[in-house]
């Protein structure tokens, strides 16, 4: 018995040792191989092969293809690889933390709310591209998430500027005109939701309890976030968040929400004509337009603001930017981005008409394509209005842990809805988050 016990112990030790070595190897990011890639430098004037990673065939990849058509440089050859966004995150994390830059792309698209975690975790992996375009040409709110320590790493791409998309027929039935919905507060939004529910029976909006996007949209109207600019967790004393949570609870407990559990149900909620409005990023518009039978029944108003000093009727949800990795070909990649996404207003007009992407390049919004009157939205100049709201979006530093904090928060919020006090709930969430992201 004694002998077999010691044998087991020995085995356990060997196994633990092996596991420890394997895990330790993973953390070993000395990056000694960072620049050991073969191949010629871009300056040689020879053909440079550039690899770009992005997601969504009809949107980001279509945009890259269009940019490639606009770029007049015979020595430039770009291969675009389609990967889902989560997959890109996984691949970048694996590749960059393994310390070899082998297999990494030259250009990669990263969502703004994730960008800081990459820039801060892998400081030498990205190439600063501030010299290749003028940051002042871009919507101000895009700069903080795409830069680090005063260096500009990302070239801002699409805007997630939000709008309050609504069904004109339902809102009219409840007694509201377009003017009643312009520049309102979220408190008014909740009141309108109650009216709509009472008079038409329709819930105001669809929400997925696991996705707190709506809270972020509310919070950003005041320019605050889950973290402060110096990276501290900011939940307990976050007044805008508290107000947003109160509105959230009121919407939930008065049955003004159509609950969904995934993206397809979210789309179905408005395509089927069930909900009266969709407050979301402008990229939702094509999904609304997918239901042809509702043409002319929709309009869009500015995003409601939180009823606080300095809040704007503009917010953001999603949106991403282009980054260049610090490997051979970086100059050619940066040059390409700068000449297309960074400065070509004409390109942005076609980007809008062909791809439907609204960039954050400010000079582009004066172009003709932005004046398009969308019949689906009753002839409203949807794009132009969104591009105007875009310039007013309060700037926010998304920090490193947006999604991590939100996982904690979404569990706590359930308790808040079940009756736990707001202060206790936020204090608990704050403590958990501080533990996890020291």
């Amino acid at each position: 018995m004694k002998q077999s016990l010691s044998k087991k112990l020995w085995l356990l030790l060997v196994a633990l040792f092996t596991a420890a070595i394997l895990v330790a190897c993973g953390d070993d990011t000395d990056g000694e191989n960072a620049d050991s890639d073969g191949g010629e430098d871009a300056s040689g004037g020879e053909t440079t092969d550039i690899i770009a990673w992005a997601w969504d065939q009809n949107f980001n990849i279509a945009a890259l293809n269009l940019a490639n058509e606009y770029y007049e440089n015979e020595d430039f050859n770009m291969e675009i690889v389609e990967n889902a966004q989560d997959d890109i995150v996984q691949k970048l994390n694996t590749g960059l933390s393994s310390g070899t830059m082998k297999g990494m792309p030259n250009i990669v698209l990263i969502e703004d709310q994730r960008a800081q975690s990459f820039l801060q975790s892998y400081p030498d992996a990205f190439y600063p591209i501030g010299d290749y375009f003028n940051t002042e040409d871009f919507a101000e709110y895009k700069i903080a998430p795409t830069s680090l320590d005063g260096k500009q790493y990302g070239l801002p791409f699409d805007t997630g500027a939000t709008g309050f998309f609504y069904r004109t027929d339902y809102l009219e039935e409840a007694g509201y005109t377009h003017d009643d919905l312009v520049n309102i507060t979220w408190a008014q939004f909740v009141d309108i939701a109650k009216d709509v529910k009472e008079k038409t029976g329709h819930p105001m909006l669809a929400l997925d309890p696991n996705d707190l996007g709506i809270l972020r949209v509310m919070m950003q109207t005041t320019g605050t976030w889950y973290t402060t600019e110096d990276g501290k967790i900011n939940l307990v004393d976050n007044e805008p968040l508290k107000l947003a949570l109160q509105h959230y609870k009121e919407l939930m407990s008065n049955d003004l929400v159509h609950l969904v559990s995934d993206w397809s149900q979210y789309l179905a909620a408005f395509n089927s004509g069930d909900v009266a409005s969709v407050p979301a990023g402008n990229w939702i518009a094509p999904s609304i337009e997918a239901e042809a039978s509702q043409s002319g029944l929709w309009k869009v108003a500015p995003t409601p603001r939180l009823d606080m000093e300095g809040a704007a009727n503009a917010s953001n949800q999603g949106g991403s930017s282009w980054y260049v990795l610090n490997i051979d070909g970086k100059e050619a990649a940066a040059e390409f981005l700068g000449k297309t996404f960074g400065s070509n207003s004409e390109f942005y007009q076609e980007l809008l008409t062909e791809v439907g992407a609204i960039g954050t390049y400010k000079p582009a919004s004066e172009g003709d394509a932005y004046q398009y009157e969308n019949e689906y939205f009753g002839g409203q100049k949807v794009i132009y209005e969104i591009s105007q709201w875009m310039e007013e979006i309060p700037q926010v530093d998304y920090g490193m842990n947006t999604y991590g904090i939100e996982d904690i928060l979404s569990a706590e919020i359930q308790q808040y809805l079940d009756g736990k006090s707001l202060e206790d709930m936020l204090a608990d969430a704050q403590a958990q988050a501080e533990n996890q992201f020291k």
Partner: protein, 275 residues
């Protein structure tokens, strides 16, 4: 009384089977509808099957992805079975204390999650790339090499080898067969059901493998089926009709393999439990 009991049994079983088969059925129905109808939960077959198939062929490299998945799955299955059964056979037939010890360590290695070894593994393949590009990053070989030796299959074959009559090995030796001869000409034919069960598991594992191929395969022409489906669902406005069509295409081969070998599969699995 017995009859009533039987009626209830049938009602219960019908409901249970409906519940388990419904997602599959819905997938087949959705394949014939357009995206808006799928999200609206339409349960009737529509007329968009051809359209969805055409879109799938136009928008993706489904043919190449199928081919890649097939190649990887078949090579993985053959090599896994060969290596796993050789090792399992060796551990059981040529037993010794030392080997039992090594076997225990092997079993313990099953507890290390793949995520823990992924980064060192990536680094390894990154370094190999320079000297041996044919098995380095972004090759099909890199996608299957780390998966062909698994503790699970060695364990699986060792357990099943316990049922294999040792007398056959001795009879083989007396008749002058070499040790390799005994393995290939006696062991392999007798253990047909075990091989069949293992091949189903190995094929399915490889066919559905996602994380490692995702990380190690970079160019579009190396893409496998799970990666392709992941990309389809990643758009801001996903086309669910096309996604469902792709999923049906991806499910067919595994379903086919399973139905062809179902009989052996059950027999093989039973064997491993008995052992």
């Amino acid at each position: 009384m017995k009859k009533i009991k039987r009626v209830f049994t049938y009602i219960f079983l019908s409901i249970a089977s409906l519940v388990s088969i419904f997602p599959f059925l819905w997938m087949l129905i959705s394949m014939t509808n357009k995206s808006v109808d799928v999200t609206a939960g339409r349960l009737l077959p529509g007329g968009h099957l051809i359209e969805n198939i055409n879109k799938l062929i136009e928008q993706t490299q489904i043919g190449i992805a199928l081919w890649n998945s097939f190649i990887i799955a078949i090579i993985t299955t053959i090599l896994t079975l060969l290596i796993g059964s050789l090792a399992g056979y060796g551990f059981e037939i040529y037993r010794s204390k030392g080997k039992d010890m090594i076997f225990s360590i092997l079993i313990l290695s099953m507890m290390i999650p793949f995520a823990a070894i992924m980064i060192p593994l990536y680094r390894l393949f990154g370094r190999i790339s320079a000297d041996a590009p044919f098995i380095g990053l972004d090759t099909l070989a890199a996608a299957f090499l780390p998966t062909i030796i698994t503790a699970f299959f060695i364990f699986f074959f060792r357990q099943n080898t316990k049922m294999f009559a040792r007398e056959l090995v001795e009879a083989g030796r007396i008749d002058g067969l070499s040790e390799w001869g005994i393995f290939f000409r006696i062991y392999m034919p007798t253990m047909k059901t075990t091989y069949a069960a293992a091949s189903i598991i190995a094929f399915m594992n490889s066919w559905n493998n996602y994380l490692w191929p995702l990380v190690v395969l970079q160019s579009p022409e190396k893409q496998t089926i799970p990666l392709l489906i992941s990309n389809l669902g990643a758009g801001y406005t996903p086309d669910y009709g096309v996604i469902m069509t792709a999923i049906v295409v991806a499910t067919l081969p595994t379903a086919l393999v399973f139905f062809l070998m179902q009989r052996y599969f059950v027999a093989g699995m039973m064997g491993s439990v008995k052992g």
